[in-house]
């Protein structure tokens, strides 16, 4: 296979990423981020001054009670959602100062997403779903297909490439989503309760997969979860409450 290997690198985790990106530097920096929703006339302060920093190659989980603003934070950090106040830098660039097209383009090239539901287009087959980001990034049809198949192989679903999402189980669907999130070799992978819909065995398998990818590819993972077991498998867990960061737990030092 002549194409660039996707996902897991064969060599042991190096300190250097694919393009001179140094593990440990700050890849995401948020400073005093505020986000308010106006629901039913009553403003909801979903984020009330959040500041944080995530290092390249780090795996961070965000935990907290329902409604505390985890999803909102993730969406703001990844640029899916606008903010009223504060600043967010991703890979050194202010994500909210970019025009929409550039931000979209940035997502297509540098980010991968895994949501809890609604991840896949029901009308496309698994492999077609997976190759979509590559096609968006302008990769040729044939190469896209090869790389998508490789990614599916890595999540153990090569045999299901032709199936539609409706014909897959919940765990399989999430694995296809992960394959899609990783296929374009992104710098950051965002996950909003990627295992929320799964039983613990399946959830464990998904986490194994993510952990391996994080370790081997120097990719940064930011994952929202309710599951303590999953939270513990990250380098660090950020605890939120009422739109604010309450504190953090370091499980493992980066690279340790």
């Amino acid at each position: 296979m002549s194409s660039r290997p996707v996902g897991i690198d064969i060599e042991a985790a190096p300190q250097k990423g694919t393009s001179g990106e140094v593990r440990g530097e700050s890849i995401i920096v948020a400073d005093d981020v505020h986000k308010t929703y106006a629901a039913a006339g009553q403003p909801v302060h979903a984020l009330r001054g959040v500041s944080l920093s995530v290092s390249r190659g780090e795996m961070v989980t965000i935990m907290g009670p329902s409604g505390c603003g985890k999803t909102t934070l993730l969406n703001c950090l990844s640029g899916l959602e606008t903010i009223e106040q504060g600043e967010i830098f991703v890979e050194g660039r202010s994500i909210h100062d970019m025009p929409d097209t550039e931000r979209t383009d940035h997502r297509a090239r540098r980010m991968g997403f895994v949501f809890q539901f609604y991840n896949l287009l029901p009308v496309l087959s698994a492999v077609e779903n997976v190759e979509l980001p590559l096609l968006l990034a302008g990769v040729g049809q044939r190469e896209s297909r090869d790389r998508a198949m490789l990614a599916l192989e890595q999540v153990g679903l090569a045999d299901w490439a032709g199936h539609r999402p409706a014909q897959l189980s919940g765990g399989q669907r999430q694995r296809v989503t992960i394959a899609r999130a990783l296929v374009n070799d992104p710098a950051i992978v965002w996950g909003d309760e990627p295992t929320g819909d799964l039983d613990s065995t399946n959830a464990g398998q998904i986490m194994d997969l993510l952990e391996g990818l994080n370790r081997d590819n120097n990719q940064t993972f930011v994952i929202v979860t309710h599951d303590e077991n999953i939270g513990r498998r990250a380098n660090r867990t950020i605890h939120m409450r009422d739109g604010l960061i309450e504190g953090e737990t370091i499980h493992r030092q980066l690279g340790g």
């Binding site: 969406n75 959602e81 979209t104 383009d105 997403f113 609604y118 029901p122 968006l136 040729g140």
Partner: protein, 1117 residues
């Protein structure tokens, strides 16, 4: 309008009112029994405004179409009726000559002897029903208005007794005020409105009438209403009126013999409309009187054994014609509009399916907590019926507005005829339109509600596609058996029920309807109708069983009745039913691939429609006949089959397109998703394609067939190579047009003339074929005949079939040499004795005893020599050189004038149409032969036509006008006339196309509906796409491509099917020799317009899709 489809409209009204009443009763029942369901149904209406508008639009279509049809019919009925009444005024009956035999000498165009008038007057003296029986005279006399420089060669001058006309109050001006004829001075004339317009004349102006070239001046005393008595004797006819004495004096005893009348008129007592009440009886009495007089005085009444005098109740007949025209138009509009109605029905189905899908989770929960399916149906019906009532009102109003526009447009088309339609509508028509709209919509809403409420509770709550639910109810052999048995047990049950009141309740309306329409035959369908209703009421209609059994029945019934329509309906439904049944079949858990089934089934149906009628007839060894109603069926069935074919192979088509254009870099993901969505939603894609295809089919088919006809009849060929045509009249006979022009000093006109051809025509009775043989005539039982290969063969024939002893009337046209020089007439077949066209024409030029004939002379019905016997028949085209005419010798004329001439060629039908010399003689075949021979047989001709070909570059209109001005004979420039005809025709066609195209609104609305729905239901998917890097505009673009793709499929399918069917019909010879012509100039703009409109319509949903905010879209509800 009093009648439609042979049904009195008043009865029709009560029928539809009754059915609409049933619908209203259903709603009332639901309302009083379960008001909660109505409230729940109505609650949805204000929630979705766009949706409500679209639903109403779909529901409105049927009402609009029906309203247009009926109010156009009303307008035509009233206008034509008023026209007839205005035109006939006090004239109720004509005494005319009626032919009794053809076996004698040439008819005299003599008038009716005065004695006939006197006899009738004395016979009916004292009859209270009659105000007057009187004679009148008329003649075409050229008229000139020197001051305005206007000449009108076609001016019908009428002469009547002024005192009588005044007593009858028979002549009125345009305001309906009386014109007193007895007050006219000796040199005063009344002209009609058309003449006033053409001559640019007003009362007080001086005009000149020309009799045998010599002018006489008159002062226009008044402008009379266009009427029979003011010379409006033909469409567009300018004319005028003189008191009898002045008329006599002007025309002189030769042209107007004092003891003869051109027509005898009867004026009924009481007024204009009153005599209609007894006109039928009076007509019979006059006829009886004439018969009696005939017996008493055969010499006078049956002068030559050829003709007798007969009466014609012109006014009553005209009013009947008005009715007929109106109902023909209404039928035509209903027929053309049925495509739109069908598209509207599909739109309602689609919208209800969308509504159901949208509400599926809530309906599932409602069902889960104990709501009956019946309740859901009632909910949908009440919701739908509210739309329906609104739509009926909107539809009637819109329909009336459209009709007003239509009448206005028709009026511009009819302007040159001096006739205007007045827009009218009767209450009856309004009631019928509204009720038909309500009924059609009610039935559709009920069906849609049944379909919409069919849901699997679990599937609904979990929002799983319904298809998977279907999967879980496969059709095992046991189920098939149960279904079939079910149908029969239902049938048996029905028989048992026949003795109970339930049958009455269910069957009575149907039986009542069939009774009313007097369709005894159809009554045997009652059980099937009941069965159908029963199955529907059982809520789970097994359509395939109905299709198979119903199709089979219709097939047999159609063959039995020799009705192509019923047969085709049956034979089209049958395979579809079989396929639907097989699709549900499971044999040890395995199914036949649906793609295979539907491709084969739909392909077969298409084959059936594209196969020629002969194929069907020979397959079943049966005769099958059909009319234009087949177009509707063909459109429906072909569209259904074509849509199935497309929808079940969409993935292949999409794959093909993707392979072709997929590699276009960044567009690849857009094209991929745009192609995937329609393929995944078969039902709505199919419905939308079908709607667009149906209307496109109607438009393209209609345009193609009409364009082919109009090209054949108004194309350049029809002029036969001549540019200007001029007509002699009795009063103004120009023998030699060149000499006439030279004498008038009109050299500038003369110089433009290349060939001054001439046909001197006269009817000849008593023409018979002498031989129609190749060489010899064997009187026993054999005839030698030329077969299609040009070989002479001997065949046995039944001599009795050859009516060679019968003498027929023909028109003989003597042609001069310049005619031969100027003509570019095509010959359809040439005698085997002549080499080529050249030889034919030079034989004619040489004054040989030869003739060329119009096709009718040889072909069946009118032919004097029916040589259209196997194996020789009239060839289809000249290009088929091997086909030659056998030797046909005919004897023309009787007695010493009789001559035998050989028919050596046949004029091509289309290019022969210009010869058309038989205007006044009905439809007589024509023989063209050398002038000298014709003159010998006919004698001096009083009907000469000049066929003029002009020099290259000449202004033909100017030549025609010059001839009119200088010679005062009627002249037309044929090309210009044809162009005018074509443009009138095409503007009327455009009107019809617009009417058919109304249905496109449904197709476009469908696109809008599914686009709107897509935006809503794909919110999260759009969110995901945006999250993973789809640019906002690509999301919108994707939707545009998707909808554009569906629109293209619909437009393409409709066009292909329409052209396919047209091709089959033309190839089959349905339209005779007319060849198919595809009017790309009409079709392409139509298609492009529809496509652009579909994009414009999708633009708004697409923009909405592009504006989806990602985070909110992803927020799961």
């Amino acid at each position: 309008m009093e009648e439609l489809f042979g049904l009195p409209t008043i009865r029709l009204m009560w029928i539809v009112v009754a059915i609409a009443g049933v619908a209203a009763a259903v709603i009332a029942f639901i309302f009083f029994k379960r008001p909660i369901l109505v409230r729940m149904g109505l609650r949805n209406i204000p929630r979705r405004r766009a949706q409500t508008v679209l639903v109403t639009m779909g529901l409105t279509l049927a009402t609009i179409i029906v309203t247009i049809a009926f109010s156009t019919g009303d307008s035509l009925a009233v206008s034509v009726r008023n026209l007839a009444l205005d035109s006939l005024e006090r004239i109720d009956h004509f005494i005319t000559t009626e032919e009794v035999g053809t076996d004698a000498e040439s008819s005299s165009s003599d008038g009716i002897p005065n004695q006939v008038l006197l006899d009738l007057q004395s016979h009916f003296a004292g009859d209270e029903r009659i105000d007057a029986i009187f004679g009148s005279r008329f003649e075409l006399v050229p008229i000139e208005h020197p001051e305005a420089g206007q000449v009108e060669p076609q001016f019908f001058l009428v002469g009547v007794d002024p005192e009588l006309a005044d007593r009858l109050q028979a002549v009125r001006d345009e305001n309906g005020d009386l014109i007193e004829l007895s007050a006219l001075g000796p040199d005063e004339i009344v002209i009609n409105e058309l003449a006033a317009r053409d001559l640019d004349a007003e009362p007080g102006d001086r005009v000149r009438l020309f009799v045998m070239q010599s002018p006489r001046s008159f002062t226009v005393a008044a402008i009379g209403r266009n009427a029979v008595l003011t010379g409006n004797l033909q469409a567009g006819g300018a004319g005028g009126l003189l008191p009898m004495s002045a008329y006599q004096e002007l025309l002189g005893p030769r042209l107007s013999p004092p003891d003869q009348w051109d027509s005898i008129l009867v004026s009924g007592a009481g007024g204009v409309e009153e005599p209609l009440e007894f006109s039928e009886a009076l007509d019979e009495d006059i006829d009886a009187a004439l018969s009696r007089l005939e017996r008493m005085n055969p010499d006078l009444y049956l002068s030559n054994g050829l003709s007798r005098y007969a009466t014609e109740s012109v006014k009553a007949d005209s009013l009947r014609d008005a009715e007929l025209i109106a109902s023909v138009f209404t039928t035509l509009f209903l027929f053309m509009g049925s495509f739109s109605v069908a598209a509207g029905i599909l739109l309602i189905f689609l919208i209800f399916a969308m509504l159901a899908e949208e509400r599926k989770p809530e309906m599932g929960i409602a069902r889960a907590v104990g709501m009956q399916r019946n309740d859901l149906i009632q909910m949908f019906i009440s919701e739908g019926m509210v739309y329906n009532m609104g739509a009926a009102v909107v539809g009637v109003v819109l329909g009336l507005l459209f009709a007003i526009g239509l009448i206005a447009a028709l009026n511009t088309g009819f302007e040159s005829f001096g006739f205007q339609f007045a827009w009218t509508v009767t209450v009856k028509s309004l009631v019928i339109s509204a009720c038909i709209g309500i009924v059609i919509t009610f039935i559709t809403v009920v069906f849609s509600s049944f379909r919409a409420s069919r849901l699997n509770i679990v599937a609904a709550i979990r929002d799983i596609p319904e298809e998977q639910y279907e999967e879980s109810h496969p059709l095992t052999p046991r189920r098939v058996l149960r279904n079939v048995l079910g149908v029969f047990t239902t049938a048996i049950g029905l028989v048992l029920l026949a003795t109970t009141p339930i049958t009455l309740i269910l069957g009575a309306p149907v039986a009542f309807f069939l009774q009313l329409t007097g369709r005894r035959r159809a009554q045997r369908l009652i059980p099937w109708v009941l069965l159908f209703g029963w199955r529907v009421l059982r809520w789970n209609p097994q359509w395939w069983v109905l299709f198979v059994i119903g199709g089979w029945q219709l097939l047999g019934f159609g063959l039995d009745q020799e009705s192509l329509f019923i047969y085709m309906m049956g034979i089209s439904l049958l395979p579809l039913g079989v396929v639907m049944g097989l699709n549900r079949l499971r044999l040890s858990g395995r199914r036949i691939p649906p793609r295979l089934l539907y491709t084969v089934g739909a392909g077969f149906v298409m084959f059936l429609w594209f196969a020629p009628n002969d194929w069907h007839e020979s397959f079943f060894n049966n005769n099958l006949n059909g009319g234009p109603e087949l177009f509707v069926l063909a459109g429906t069935m072909l569209t259904a089959a074509g849509t199935l074919l497309l929808v079940f192979n969409l993935d292949l088509i999409v794959g093909g397109i993707r392979n072709a254009v997929g590699g276009v870099g960044r567009m690849a993901p857009v094209i991929r998703t745009a192609a995937a969505y329609p393929a995944a939603a078969r039902y709505r894609t199919g419905m939308t394609i079908a709607m667009i295809a149906l209307i496109t089919f109607a438009l393209v088919n209609f345009s193609t067939i009409n364009a082919s006809f109009s090209r054949a009849f108004t194309g350049g060929d029809t002029a036969g190579g001549f540019e200007v045509l001029a007509f002699n009249t009795e009063v103004n006979a120009i023998g030699d047009i060149r000499a006439g022009l030279a004498e008038a000093g009109a050299n500038e006109v003369l110089d433009e003339i290349e060939d001054a051809g001439r046909i001197e025509a006269g009817p000849v009775r008593g023409t018979r074929a002498v031989t129609a043989l190749t060489e010899a005539w064997d009187p026993v039982a054999e005839r030698h005949i030329l077969d299609s290969d040009g070989e002479i063969r001997t065949i046995e024939t039944d001599l009795a079939e050859l009516k060679f002893e019968d003498r027929e009337a023909v028109v003989l046209g003597g042609i001069n040499d310049e005619f031969i020089d100027g003509q570019e007439v095509k010959l359809q077949a040439i005698s085997y004795r002549y080499e080529d066209e050249q030889a034919v024409w030079s034989a004619l030029r040489g004054g040989e005893m030869v003739a060329v004939a119009t096709v009718d002379a040889i072909d069946g019905a009118f032919g004097f020599a029916d040589v259209d016997l196997e194996p020789w028949s009239t060839p289809d085209s000249v290009t088929d050189e091997s086909i030659r005419l056998p030797r046909i010798v005919v004897e023309v004329g009787l007695g010493e004038n009789a001559r035998q001439v050989e028919v050596i060629a046949i004029l091509e039908r289309v290019s022969g149409a210009f010869v058309d010399l038989d205007g006044e003689n009905g439809s007589l075949p024509t023989l063209l032969l050398p002038e000298s021979i014709a003159a010998a047989v006919v004698g001096p001709s009083d009907s000469t036509r000049h066929y003029i070909s002009t020099r290259a570059g000449a202004d033909t209109l100017e030549v025609a006008q010059g001839i009119e001005r200088e010679l005062r004979i009627f002249a037309v420039d044929i090309k210009g006339e044809l162009e005018r005809q074509q443009s009138t025709q095409s503007s009327i066609l455009a009107l019809f196309q617009g009417f058919i195209g109304i249905g496109l609104v449904a197709g476009l609305a469908a696109l809008g509906v599914i686009a709107l729905r897509a935006v809503v239901e794909r919110r999260q998917q759009i969110g995901v796409l945006r999250a993973i890097g789809f640019q906002a505009r690509l999301v919108g673009f994707e939707l545009l491509i998707e909808m554009g793709f569906i629109a293209l499929l619909g437009l393409g399918l409709g066009t292909a099917l329409a052209l396919g069917l047209a091709w089959r019909l033309f190839a089959e010879g349905t339209f005779g020799e007319i060849s198919m012509y595809i009017p790309l100039g009409t079709i392409l703009p139509m298609l492009i317009g529809a496509f652009v409109a579909s994009l414009v319509l999708t633009y708004f949903p697409a923009r909405q899709a592009a504006r989806t905010t990602i985070a909110e879209a992803l927020r799961y509800e």
